[in-house]
Symmetry: C2
Subunit: 339 residues, 2 copies
DNA sequence: TCGATCTCTGAAAAGGTTTACAAGAGTGTA
DNA sequence: TACACTCTTGTAAACCTTTTCAGAGATCGA
């Protein structure tokens, strides 16, 4: 029912090849002719049939985004950025949920592979060698993960967490706890690395707890252990975990930030919504999605295989809200906790 | 590079037609033959080329999901359910963000229409006649919206909010406020309808505030006006708004639930994460996504056009947490508020 | 035994686009 | 004039699958 390239060709008085060229390789056809074609196409409301095009070019015009957990707010912003950039380039975006499971993730890559030109793989839980061994098609771009030979976009986790440590040090904290994220997570390792270097630099003590799943409930469960460490400040793997800590502390009657300072990571919207609003390291999440798609699009160009796979590092900033303050000289609720 | 149907046919010693039939209409080919084909296909790792299939069938094997705002946690659960069901049926899911804008939403439907067999349109902001006038292709299924002639899946908003009102009435509240959502939102009208009927039934007073955008910040802004009404309980359009109210109340030093009870709607994960945890009407969100895709898949069957468009209503439940309690006889923080 | 019916299979067309190749026109050079 | 270009366009093949149509063989009833 919709107009085909033949209809346009007939209307413009040219061959179908000329119509095709007018649309996909404008420079190869005389300007005059092209104008005629464009008018005819517009009049008929012609849009190339993507299936037919895909059949011959081998391209789908789609890209995929795979996240470990679509329920994690972090990815919504990524998705939003990715989708916006993709739409600009006339690509459509598939999404899928890896369910925090390496096997599922690999299956998803294969299943999705047939239908997309490339995939943005967010915070992959896959082992490095699995990742390296995957087929060259579809093209992969890694987000928050570095693997030799694969293009990737990462957020400066180490630098960001260092900002947080310095902030705490300036407030007078000398003993900090870290609630660690998944062992498979590259981001977690980066944060830990930054943390170790930076606490040493400012002369603070560091106690790590975990690893825990990057979720609210894990944070709530970890709060008690944080208190046991005697730390006056706690940094969490991400905001979700930090909010979990916050929630449990409220339950226990531990006042934040007076008795314990709490810092998150990511700056998801939730961070500003809780009480008290969370001090956190802000990652440019939407931008990251955008940049990842940008990198993917670039990778899809002819001859991209020759160029080396680039790694782009995005800067982070510290957002100071109300969950951090100078440590109290004494903790008033010790009795309450042991009750 | 990947195996084509011809390779499979050659290996199995049959024609391509037989291979095709073995895979798409198993009953039309002798069991013996089919087994041979299946073995050959498995050995070669054959997977039908979707573009070629789409070219001839006119189907894409994709479905789309459009939400007014991908940043709203409500849709993540919808998306999760939709994606899971779609994957079971070997469909892939496109997502797009309507940006709370009717024009953008319509453009999206058109753009996406070429690449999908059907669309699940969540909480559409489109005017009823626009919605009715849209092309029959792609097939549309509405979520949380009812329009004559269109299949839809709705959550029992009116019934759910009635549960909440009864809960408040039992606690002794006689004056309730409602922070209303977008005027274009069908869900909002339903909630308001249920609210009016139910408050009348239990003999409570109702004051409405708004409409406001369905976001955290709107809730925060509305909190002051809620206090002015003198209501002892407030129901919000959704959890995001409720959490905004909560946040502002904490800032003002108004204790929840002692001085004011707060009720949300949707039961997004956030509802359990805030302090105090939010009493809310739980919508079966993930299920809704699932059911909507189910309805879409059904609608995609041959001859579905004859059948009338069904409306499915999903039940809601009340989740009582800690943000509701019996009203205090006096409000102790009046002075604080006016300060 | 003959014809009718049914079951299974193959040949070939069709679907809409891109692109290799060829051809024609025009331009500049020897 | 002949030649070698470039520029522009058209013809036709190719992409891979589904599906129509027809044919071959088998079964069944008369």
């Amino acid at each position: 029912m919709p107009a085909s390239i033949h209809a346009v060709a007939a209307r413009a008085g040219v061959s179908v090849a000329t119509v095709s060229r007018s649309l996909t390789a404008p420079r190869t056809v005389r300007e005059n002719t092209r104008a005629r074609v464009l008018v005819a196409a517009a009049e008929l409301g012609y849009e190339p049939n993507r299936a037919a095009r895909g059949l011959i070019t081998g391209r789908t015009g789609n890209i995929g985004v795979i996240a470990p957990d679509l329920g994690n707010p972090y990815f919504h912003a990524v998705l939003k950025g990715a989708q916006a950039r993709a739409r600009e380039a006339d690509y459509a975006v598939f999404v899928a949920d890896g369910q925090e499971d390496a096997g599922e993730e690999e299956a998803l890559i294969r299943a999705m592979g047939k239908q997309v030109d490339g995939i943005v793989l967010c915070s992959s839980r896959l082992a490095p060698d699995t990742l390296a061994r995957l087929d060259p098609t579809p093209t992969l771009v890694l987000l928050n993960r570095r693997v030799p030979g694969r293009p990737s976009v990462v957020v400066d986790s180490a630098g960001g967490i260092c900002l947080a440590v310095r902030h705490l040090a300036e407030l007078g904290h000398v003993r900090c706890a870290f609630v660690a994220g998944p062992r498979r997570s590259w981001s977690n390792r980066e944060r830990l690395r930054g943390l170790r270097a930076c606490t040493r630099a400012v002369g603070a003590e560091l106690v790590t707890i975990g690893p825990v799943a990057p979720q609210f409930t894990s944070g709530a469960a970890a709060a008690d252990r944080v208190l046991e460490t005697g730390a006056t400040a706690v940094l969490a793997y991400n905001d979700l975990v930090a909010v979990g800590v916050l929630s449990r502390l409220a339950e226990l009657g531990v006042r934040v930030p007076d008795e314990l300072s709490v810092v998150g990571f990511d700056d998801i919207p939730l961070a500003a919504m809780v009480t008290p609003p969370l001090t956190t390291v802000a990652a440019p999440t939407e931008l990251a999605g955008r940049v990842a798609v940008e990198a993917l699009l670039d990778r899809l160009q002819d001859g991209a295989a020759q160029r080396p796979a680039a790694v782009q590092r995005l800067p982070t900033t510290l957002v100071v809200r109300s969950s951090t303050a100078a440590p109290a000289l004494t903790r008033t609720t010790t009795a309450l906790r042991s009750a």
